[in-house]
Amino acid sequence: MKIWLSQDAAARALGADEVARALTAEAVQQGIELQLVRTGSRGMVWLEPMAEVEVDGVRHAFGPLAPGDAAALLAGTCDKGQGPTEEIPFFARQTRLTFARCGVIDPLSLDEYRAHGGFAALEKAREIGAEGVLSELTDSGLRGRGGAGFPAAIKWTTVAKAEADRKYIVCNADEGDSGTFADRMLMEGDPFTLIEGMAIAGLACGAAKGFIYIRSEYPDAIAILTEALRIARGGGLLDGFDLELRVGAGAYVCGEETSLLNSLEGKRGVVRAKPPLPALEGAFGKPTLVNNVLTLASVPAVITGGGKAYAGYGAGRSKGTMPIQIAGNVLRGGLFEAPFGMPLGQLVEEIGGGPRSGAPVKAVQVGGPLGAYFPPALFDTPFTYEDFDAAGGLIGHAGIVVFDDSADMVAQARFAMEFCAVESCGKCTPCRVGAVRGVETIDRIAAGDAAALPLLEDLCHTMKLGSLCALGGFTPYPVMSAVRHFPEEFQLAREAAE
């Protein structure tokens, strides 16, 4: 009997390893020959730990499992069946390009990776050459998935054209935004896709060396990537492209690309002034391509399917699919890859099922700790870079955090400032000092000081315009969106104190 069981960190956090042990022990007891394949996650976190069993050649999902379900699962009498995995509405409504293999295959099996289309893109890239790759990428309209949404082809072309004796490809796997876990899921569930994407980048940009800079908070992903790199090197797959894994040390700001480069060089992770652009003067002073995990991991799908086909998905200038992460207080949390353009409210209510607590939604924060809070009144906003910008927010790394009506928006605004104060690299004053003042000012508002609200607005203005990077520059988004959309709470804080 063959059972696929997720070993994604979210599944393990919910007890997948205990389920695995119970299955193995129970199989011995029942005299069943069990082939247990540990996979990445299919992304339906509310069903984790989730196992799959083949019925008439189709994988059926079972979950959320507890060790006590092992016997029934093996006997075919488990009552936690969810039907065919790919027919579960949350899954069926997705378009999986970047995450096509995640949860399906054994993440460390090169044979399965190949059997599911792996390495076809790298082979094609070797045929069409750097020019061909850059042209497909241009056609695809792929934009950076790390937050800023910068067109990938422009960055790649800049690095490709730069003259230097040495260039680098750096994968930004620092994924610090609350509400996001797509990078983690991909690295744990389909690491060869990222490796393949980086090898293609090396080929297109003329770089022989790559680094994956991963946050230390992801021990599972670190273990899988380490093994995947060993296998890839052993199999001679990288063909002269040398790829190294580097682990961060718990600093949110090291997700910012210039700070990341300093960290990679062994320095304090302070932000560098731009220009020079990392594409021209990046790691160790050499031209460097810095891209997010999802950007690089989408490249194989772009190359295999063709840039034009990729651009056929999405809306307006937001092309392709986005792995959206639905998190927080939500019934069906997980990873939902879909073409850009679905209205926010549909993602929250219909796909996510609204708050798990059963209470109404009060707000959702989109784009991590530097993203705005959206009230239900803005739920018709289509999920695209442009529409979110126009609505006073950003999609960032596409995390959606759902809050029910018990959320305290003054406290959320305060937290945004507190977080900025904790994580500021200290290089510029608006961020370093502004965040501390921000916490104090919000405390005054909460204590009923009416004069403090305009001060907060001024402060946000200064941080926005004067900060060296988006840490200080975007912290005003969550703060001011809370003030703008929930003025009564800031008002009430005053009245309550009067």
């Binding site: 979210a10 956090a13 919910l14 908070e217 062994g266 992770g269 998190a327 927080g328 995390g399």
Partner: protein, 159 residues
């Protein structure tokens, strides 16, 4: 500054660590991680030796150690409990779990229990945002923390 005791065999083991990382580009972070994996913190006595090997000043190495939340300059408890304080976990009742843990352990953030078993650290997102509140005990992830589950975990840690 806390009193520092130089761990036994520091020189010898550190030389091995330094030698193992010599060929890397930008070796300081990998070295510091290896040092902390060995001794649980970055012993003060290691700083001048690392500085010398990398041709840096002590101040530069110290500056790096102190910049990153991960690197510790003093020993910690037997176990490190990292509790997520970020937004998605807040939305799922993370603050209540944090209060419970602090109360039960009798410590605040960054402190170690009186019996030396557990150090409590805040962490800002573990990528378990769809199954919070989340925590990490040493390198083991835990999600969907309820009051009961949290108390059971603390019990197991011997806190």
């Amino acid at each position: 500054m806390t009193d520092q005791i130089t761990p036994d065999g520091l020189d010898e083991r550190l030389s091995e660590i330094l030698a193992a990382h010599q060929g890397l580009e930008g070796p300081l972070l990998p070295i510091l991680h290896a040092v902390q994996a060995e001794w649980g913190h970055v012993p003060q006595a290691s700083v001048p030796l690392i500085a010398k090997a990398l041709n840096l000043s002590r101040a530069e190495v110290h500056g790096v150690v102190s910049f990153y939340h991960d690197f510790r300059e003093a020993p910690v408890g037997t176990h490190v409990l990292r509790l997520c304080r970020a937004e998605a976990c807040q939305a799922q009742g993370g603050a209540g779990i944090a209060e419970l843990v602090k109360d039960r352990l009798g410590v605040d953030w960054h402190e170690t229990t009186a019996n030396g078993r557990v150090t409590l650290e805040p962490v800002y997102c573990l990528g378990l945002c769809a199954c919070g509140p989340a925590a990490m005990i040493d390198e083991t992830v835990c999600g969907g923390l309820t009051r009961e589950r949290t108390l059971a975990l603390l019990e197991e840690l011997g806190a």
